[in-house]
Amino acid sequence: MSAPSSDRASIDIADLAKSFGDVRALDGVSLQVAPGEVYGLLGANGAGKSTLMRCLLGYLNPTRGTVRTLAGNSRDVDIRSRIGYLPGDLRLPLRSSVQDILRFHTRLQARAGRPATDAENLLTRLDVPMDRRFGALSKGNRQKVGLALSLMAAPEVLVLDEPTSGLDPHMQELVLDIVRERRADGAAVLLSTHILSEAEAIADRVGVLSRGKLVAEAPLSTLLDRAQQSIEVALDEAPPPTVLDVVPGLMSAAVQGTEVTAVVTGSLSEAIRALAPYGVRRIATRAHELDEMFQQTRDGAS
C-alpha cells in the first residue's frame, strides 16, 4: 500500500515541526493515512510519536506545518466526534466509576450527533468492569476502559498510542482484531508502538520516527524487502572465497571450507544460485526482524 494523496487521506500531516524551547521534538514530518489503512508509527521513547499524535489531535500547536484530519481541524466538535483516541499514558479520574466516565463520554458523543452505538458490544467484548472505580482497576482493565472510550462511536479515524500496553496476550490479540475490524469498516488508523511484532501483525505501512524526523516510510512489505537476511549453507565441495562476490545486496560473506555464511539485503535467490554448483547439503536462512531493521535505521539517522 502506497501513501495516499492528500485529498483522499483521512490524516494529512505536512511538514510538521514542533519545538519546546530549544528542543525540537518534531522536524518536518509529513505523512498521510488513507481510509481503511493502518499506519504503524515506530520509534524509540522520545522519538516524537506522542508529540505527533498530540499535534494531530490539537493538544499542541504546531511550530510549523499543517495537520488535517478528515479534511478539517480535529478540534472541531463535528470532526472530533469521528476520531477515537487512546493516549499512551491513560489517565482518568481515579474516584469516578467506570460507568460515570462512560456516561459522560457517551452523552457528549450523542450531543455531537454521533451516538456511541458500539459501546455495549465493545464493553462486553473487552469485559470492562463497569461498577468499579477507575482508580481501583488494574493497568490492563484501565487500558480496556480507554479502548472502549476510543472505539465506542465507531470512529473514522483512530489514533492509538501503544494500545496493547499492559494487556495480556489474549487481550492484545482481541484489540488487534478490533482494530482490523475498524480498518475493514474504512477507518484510518494511526498506531504507535515499539512492539514490532504488533506492527508486523497489523500495519499496512510503517513510518520510523527518530529524533523528531521521519527517517523511513514504506509499505511493510517494502521495508521487509529492504531487510537483511542471513544464510548459512553447507556444501559438498569447498567454493572459492569470492564465490558470492557477484551477488547483489551482499553485505558480508565468510567461506570456511564447505561452510558458507552470508548476509544479504533483499532476495537470497542469487546467493543460492551461486552456491548450487558446489552441491548444497544443508541450508538455513533467517530474515532479520523488523526491530533489527528499525535499529539499523536509527543507527543510520544518528
Binding site: R54, Y85, R107, G146
Partner: protein, 270 residues
C-alpha cells in the same frame, strides 16, 4: 447543553467532597451562632475592648459603627469578616485551581478533551460548576443560620433579608478570588501558581485595605480592595449593590474570560 453536561459531571465527581464541605460549613456557622448569647450578655466588656482598637482595624474586622454585642456587629465581626468567607474561599479556590490546571497536572484533561468537546465548553462548564457549588453551599449554610439565628436573637433589628444579602455579597467576593485561581490555572496549566496567585490577591486585598486606612494619603487605595467592597458596604442592612455584588461579579467574569481565552490557544501539558 454541553456546558451543563460538563458542569454536572464535575459536580458529580466531587459529590462526596462537596457534601463534606457543606456539612462542615453548616457546623461552623451554627457553632458561631450559638456563641452569640454569651457575647451579647457580656457586651459592655467587648465593646470597651473594641473601642480601644484603631478605627481602621475595627472596619477591617467588620465592627465599625456597631456594637459587637449587637446582631449586626456580632455577625460582621465573627462571621462575615473572617472565618465564614475564608472557608468558602478555600473551597472556591480549590475547585477553581483544580478545574483546568489540576486536571491537566493529573493528566485527566487529555482524555476528557478526547471527547467531542471544545476547550471553551469544558472551561465554562467547570466554571459554572464551581460557581454553582459555592453558591449552593453559601445558600444552604445561610438557610441553616436563618433557622437557628431567630431563636438566639441574632436577627433582631436586621431586615429579614439581611443575612441573604450578606451571603450574596460574600459569594461575589468568593467568586472573584476563585475566578482568579481558575483563570491563572487555565492560562498556565499550573495549579500551584493558581493557588499562590489567588492567595496573594486575598492577602494583598485584605491587608491592603487595612493598612491603607492607617496612612491618610493612601486611604483612597482602600476602595480598590474587594474586601472593602464587601465589608464596607453594610451587607447585613443594605441589599447587594453595584460595589458589593455587581463589581466583583463582573470582574470575576472578565478574569475568567481572559483565562478561558488563553486556555483555548495554548499547548496542553502532557
Amino acid at each position: 447543553m454541553t456546558t451543563l453536561t460538563v458542569a454536572l459531571s464535575f459536580v458529580r465527581d466531587r459529590r462526596r467532597s462537596l457534601l463534606a464541605w457543606t456539612l462542615g460549613i453548616i457546623a461552623l456557622v451554627l457553632i458561631m451562632a450559638v456563641f452569640y448569647p454569651s457575647i451579647r450578655d457580656t457586651g459592655a466588656d467587648f465593646d470597651a475592648y473594641v473601642e480601644s482598637l484603631p478605627e481602621s482595624v475595627r472596619e477591617s474586622l467588620g465592627i465599625s459603627g456597631a456594637s459587637i454585642a449587637s446582631p449586626e456587629g456580632y455577625l460582621m465581626s465573627q462571621m462575615y469578616s473572617n472565618i465564614y468567607p475564608l472557608v468558602i474561599l478555600i473551597l472556591g479556590i480549590s475547585m477553581g485551581s483544580w478545574a483546568i490546571a489540576g486536571a491537566e497536572g493529573e493528566g485527566t484533561l487529555e482524555m476528557t478533551l478526547a471527547a467531542p468537546l471544545r476547550r471553551v465548553s469544558l472551561a465554562w462548564g467547570r466554571f459554572v460548576a464551581m460557581a454553582a457549588a459555592t453558591l449552593a453551599i453559601t445558600a444552604i449554610s445561610t438557610a441553616a443560620l436563618a433557622v437557628i439565628a431567630a431563636p438566639l436573637g441574632l436577627l433582631d433589628g436586621l431586615p429579614w433579608w439581611g443575612i441573604w444579602s450578606a451571603a450574596f455579597s460574600m459569594w461575589a467576593l468568593v467568586m472573584l478570588y476563585a475566578s482568579a485561581a481558575f483563570a491563572i490555572g487555565a492560562a498556565t496549566g499550573r495549579r500551584a501558581w493558581a493557588i499562590a496567585g489567588a492567595a496573594a490577591l486575598i492577602v494583598i486585598g485584605f491587608l491592603g485595605q487595612m493598612f491603607a486606612s492607617l496612612a491618610q494619603p493612601l486611604e483612597y487605595l482602600r476602595t480598590t480592595s474587594p474586601w472593602y467592597w464587601f465589608l464596607g458596604s453594610s451587607p447585613l442592612t443594605e441589599p447587594p449593590g453595584l460595589v458589593s455584588f455587581v463589581l466583583p461579579a463582573a470582574l470575576a467574569l472578565i478574569i475568567t474570560m481572559a483565562g478561558v481565552w488563553r486556555f483555548d490557544r495554548r499547548d496542553l501539558g502532557a
